[in-house]
């Protein structure tokens, strides 16, 4: 049994915000989790905590039953990857070379990227619709293109657990659907899992198998999507009246016009 990426009695705080108290939940291969919550509630901090970038106040994050705080970074990077909310490229580099940095944790000190790595990078660029951009400079990319490149780099890194901080930011409708579908497909194949901070409830309703909600003051609630998304829970979450509609693909939610 794979215990996945799990939180045990996790307590996370940042700058006066109590993000979660006694958090117990696990992201297992096959899962696609949505992380929902209002602005400034600590979604990014929780993702960073799971990636080992932020130290929890107490409790542990476990990667297959081992505390990630005790694992070397390089090993961690082969299993856990994160799409950050913003990616800024200061130094010029080509799109292909940037995508190839995803192979970094898989290569030894003196090792160079081989044929297989190159194929992976090219495949990932094709998958995010950047096939013709390989030789382009990263500093000249649009917001959406830079976002897709960052996602392609994560695909090249190929961790079992993908943490995604607002993966659909800057993306047009077609690419939003495309990328969410790709993440769901990877999870369904059974080897990967994802946890994505989202603001679009309906993307969560359509693509995610599980939902975790952060209410503030350390309160949280996690479970399978159909059990989690309801008018009352979303109203409590966002402090805004929400109306449920039935669509052919299942329930959808919209803010009730005030």
């Amino acid at each position: 049994m794979n215990n996945g990426l799990a939180c045990s009695a996790l307590d996370v705080r940042i700058a006066g915000v109590h993000v979660v108290k006694d958090l117990e939940f696990a992201v297992r291969p096959g899962d696609f989790w949505a992380l929902l919550g209002p602005n400034g509630i600590g979604k990014t901090t929780l993702l960073k905590c799971l990636a080992g970038l932020h130290e929890p106040g107490s409790g542990e994050v476990l990667l297959e039953s081992r505390n990630i705080a005790e694992l070397p970074r390089k090993l961690l990077a082969r299993h856990i990857g994160m799409l950050q909310q913003h990616t800024v490229y200061v130094f010029d580099s080509s799109v292909l070379q940037t995508a190839l940095t995803g192979r970094h944790p898989h290569l030894g000190y003196w090792e160079r990227e081989g044929h297989r790595d190159l194929k992976m990078a090219e495949g990932a660029l094709r998958a995010v619709d950047l096939a013709g951009f390989a030789g382009r400079s990263v500093t000249g990319l649009s917001g959406g293109e830079a976002r897709r490149l960052a996602f392609a780099t994560l695909l090249v890194q190929d961790p079992e657990f993908m943490l995604l901080d607002e993966p659909t930011n800057h993306l047009d409708l077609r690419h939003q659907v495309h990328i969410m579908g790709m993440i769901r497909e990877r999870a369904r194949q059974g080897r990967h899992a994802a946890l994505a901070a989202l603001h679009d409830i309906n993307l969560a309703a359509r693509y995610c198998s599980h939902v975790i909600m952060l209410f503030g003051d350390g309160q949280w609630c996690a479970g399978a999507t159909p059990d989690m998304l309801s008018e009352s829970s979303l109203q409590r979450l966002y402090g805004c009246p929400v109306e449920r509609f039935e669509s052919s693909g299942g329930p959808r939610f919209h803010p009730r016009a005030g």
Binding site: Q84, F91, Q97, H104
Partner: protein
């Protein structure tokens, strides 16, 4: 990524140009040599001009090449370290400490042979101050390092001004030349190329880590780099490179800022290509600059720091402009 064949060709070309620059430096000077005299001198150090070439010009060219390579390599590292394309080898105060110690020695009438040791002591002192103050607890902070370094550098600059103000007229010229950067009396100690080689090998080995680090500390950590350790290693290596260069030739400006940039424009920012290219180009650039410095107003010799800036600025602006047009 640059194809292997193209990369090899580039390195070969830079190596040949480096050798050519040294050969030119051996031929040109206040005593111009004809082709046959030059060739005879190169083959036989006992010939008519052998002494001139082997005892004066070649050692000076070797010193110039080494210093240019040291500064360029240090510049590449500092720019990644601070994630700032404006960073140069002197930005964190290493050269300030070296300059103060050297100038203090000069005004106290210390023997010339003692000056490199003083420069090293001053540089080391400054490195330790900045390292100690900026380290602190908590996560790595590039901003704290930058501010600590820049403020320390300003402190040294004030002390240097004080020394210049108090210095006797006789010692001022020497001090000024040293501050501008001068290779006239430069002797290349054998450990300097050793330092260059060892640090180059270390950096080349971690070039892929530097590529990742250039994308930001968080990105680097997510891609498996223990960044806190890596950043301090980069800081110390860059500082030692700078200290070595400054102890040989004073504060030669501009090479460490411009050569890494020029090379980024030409070969891209993969450090596996950038580091060797910048080191070699920095070396040959300084050899040619110094040859000009020796000959342009011969028999007067200019401090090479003047020439590097005069050559470097237009060359850089030209390439920057061309790169923009291409984009």
């Amino acid at each position: 990524m640059m194809p292997t064949a193209q990369r090899r060709l580039l390195f070969l070309l830079l190596a040949l140009l480096s050798a050519a620059s040294v050969a030119i430096a051996a031929a040109i000077g206040s005593v111009p040599l004809g082709w046959d005299q030059w060739w005879a001198a190169l083959l036989d150090s006992g010939s008519e001009f052998g002494e001139l070439v082997w005892r004066l010009r070649l050692p000076r060219a070797a010193a110039a090449w080494t210093v240019g390579a040291l500064l360029s390599l240090s510049g590449c590292l500092m720019q990644v370290l601070l994630r700032n394309p404006l960073a140069d080898p002197y930005i964190l105060g290493v050269s300030g400490g070296a300059s103060f110690a050297t100038l203090l020695g000069m005004s106290a009438g210390a023997a010339a042979a003692l000056l490199p040791a003083l420069a090293w002591a001053g540089a080391l002192f400054s490195i330790l101050i900045v390292f100690g103050l900026a380290r602190g607890e908590g996560p790595w902070s590039g901003t704290r390092l930058l501010l600590t370094g820049v403020v320390t550098a300003s402190g040294w600059a004030a002390l240097i001004s004080l020394l210049l103000t108090l210095g006797s007229d006789g010692s001022l010229r020497g001090m000024l030349f040293w501050l501008i950067g001068d290779l006239s009396y430069a002797r290349l100690p054998s450990w300097a190329p050793a330092i260059l080689l060892v640090i180059f090998a270390l950096c080349f080995g971690m070039a892929r880590s530097l590529n990742v680090l250039a994308m930001g500390e968080t990105t680097a950590r997510l891609l498996g780099e223990p960044t806190r350790k890596l950043l301090w290693v980069v800081y110390l290596l860059a500082s030692v490179l700078t200290a070595t260069a400054v102890s040989i030739a004073g504060n030669i400006g501009f090479v460490g800022l411009i050569v890494p940039h020029l090379m980024r424009l030409l070969v891209g920012s993969d450090h596996r290509v950038l580091l060797p290219a910048a080191a070699m180009f920095g070396g040959l650039f300084l050899v040619l600059s110094d040859t000009l410095a020796r000959t342009v107003l011969a028999p007067r010799q200019l401090p090479v720091g003047v020439v590097t800036a005069l050559l470097g600025v237009p060359l850089f602006l030209l390439l920057l402009n061309r790169a923009r047009v291409k984009q």
